[in-house]
C-alpha cells in the first residue's frame, strides 16, 4: 500500500514537473517572440502578454500524455520484456505523433508551413537525442558506481564471508 502511494505521488510529481518545465519554456518564448508570433500560432494568441488558458490546458494535456506514455513504457507493469532502445523509440514516436495531432487540431502553427514542420522535427529530434544521451550517461555512471561498490564489498568482506 505504501509502495502504491509512493508510486502515485511519484507519477503526479513527474506530471507537474513536465508541465512546469513546458510552461516555463513557453513563458520565455512568449516573452521573446510572443508579439511576432501572435496571429501565426494559437499558442501565442495573447502575444507577449502571456499564455492563455487554452494554451495552458493544451500543454497540461500534453504533459498528461507524456506522463502516461512514460508510465506505460518505462515500467514493467504492462510491458514485461522490451529493450530500452525499443522503449525509447516507441516513446519518442508516440510523443511526436501526439504533438503532430496537437499542431493540426489546435493550430499550433499552419499545417501547410513546411519550414515550421522541419523546424519542429529538427528541434524535437535534437531534444530527444540529448535526453537519450544524458540518460545513458547517468545510467552508465550509476552502473559504474554499483560495480565499483561491489568489488569493494568483495575485497573488504573477503575474510569474513562464506567464500
Amino acid at each position: 500500500m505504501m509502495e502504491e502511494k509512493k508510486t502515485l505521488y511519484y507519477h503526479i510529481g513527474h506530471l507537474f514537473t513536465t508541465f512546469g518545465i513546458m510552461v516555463l519554456m513557453f513563458v520565455i518564448i512568449t516573452d521573446m517572440l510572443g508579439d511576432s508570433a501572435k496571429g501565426y500560432s494559437t499558442l501565442f494568441e495573447m502575444g507577449g502578454k502571456g499564455l492563455s488558458l487554452n494554451t495552458l490546458l493544451q500543454l497540461f494535456a500534453l504533459a498528461v500524455i507524456i506522463s502516461v506514455c512514460r508510465r506505460v513504457l518505462y515500467s514493467d507493469t504492462l510491458i514485461k520484456s522490451m529493450s530500452m532502445i525499443a522503449r525509447n523509440v516507441i516513446f519518442f514516436v508516440a510523443i511526436t505523433v501526439t504533438i503532430m495531432l496537437f499542431v493540426i487540431f489546435f493550430g499550433w502553427f499552419p499545417i501547410n508551413d513546411i519550414s515550421a514542420w522541419i523546424g519542429f522535427f529538427v528541434s524535437f529530434a535534437i531534444c530527444s537525442a540529448v535526453a537519450v544521451v544524458l540518460s545513458r550517461i547517468r545510467e552508465r555512471a550509476e552502473n559504474d558506481r554499483m560495480n565499483r561498490a561491489l568489488e569493494k564489498y568483495k575485497s573488504i568482506n573477503g575474510d569474513n564471508s562464506v567464500n
Binding site: 509502495e3 518505462y74 514493467d76 554499483m146 561498490a149 569493494k152 568482506n157 564471508s161 562464506v162 567464500n163
Partner: protein, 146 residues
C-alpha cells in the same frame, strides 16, 4: 520432547546428539538449521540428500511453496523456507533480492540499473536475475552507496 544440555570443559568441541525412534520431517528441519550454522545446507536431488557448502550457492529461489538452491552446475531442492535461509545467512554474503529470491553477493559478476528502478544482476555463470525495486535500495545500502 526432552532437551538435555551438558556444558563441560571436557568436551573439545560443540556436539549435538539427537535421539529419536524415527527420522521425522521436524528432525530433518532441525538438522538443516543446525547445518546452516556451519554454512552447510542439506539439499535434495533425485531423492538423495547432499550437504552443500553455502559458498557454492549462486542464489536461492522460492517457487510455489518449494525452495530451490542454484549453484553453477546444478539445481537442488530444499525443505527450508526462504525466510529461514534469510535469517541464517543475514550476516553473511546473502541478501534478499525479491519476495522469491536470495542472492549470494560474492557470486555476482556485475550489476546494471534496470527499468523501474530495479537492478539486473549478472552472475558468474552468465545467468541474469532481477533485484526488485523494493529490495534494490537494500542492496545499494549493503554495498555502501546509499
Amino acid at each position: 520432547m526432552k532437551i538435555e544440555i551438558d556444558i563441560d570443559e571436557k568436551y573439545p568441541d560443540i556436539g549435538i546428539k539427537i535421539t529419536a525412534p524415527s527420522l521425522t520431517p521436524e528432525i530433518e528441519k532441525a538438522i538443516s538449521l543446525m547445518r546452516m550454522m556451519d554454512m552447510q545446507i542439506p539439499v535434495k536431488r533425485d531423492d538423495e540428500t547432499i550437504l552443500l557448502d553455502a559458498e557454492k550457492i549462486l542464489y536461492i529461489e522460492a517457487v510455489e511453496r518449494n525452495t530451490f538452491v542454484y549453484t553453477e552446475d546444478d539445481t537442488y531442492g530444499s525443505d527450508l523456507k526462504l525466510y529461514e535461509f534469510e535469517q541464517q545467512f543475514a550476516e553473511k554474503d546473502f541478501i534478499r533480492i525479491s519476495k522469491q529470491g536470495i542472492l549470494n553477493l560474492r557470486k555476482v559478476k556485475s550489476l546494471k540499473t534496470d527499468i523501474n528502478r530495479k537492478i539486473r544482476v549478472t552472475l558468474i555463470n552468465g545467468e541474469q536475475i532481477i533485484v526488485s525495486r523494493m529490495y534494490a535500495d537494500e542492496l545499494r545500502k549493503r554495498l555502501g552507496i546509499k
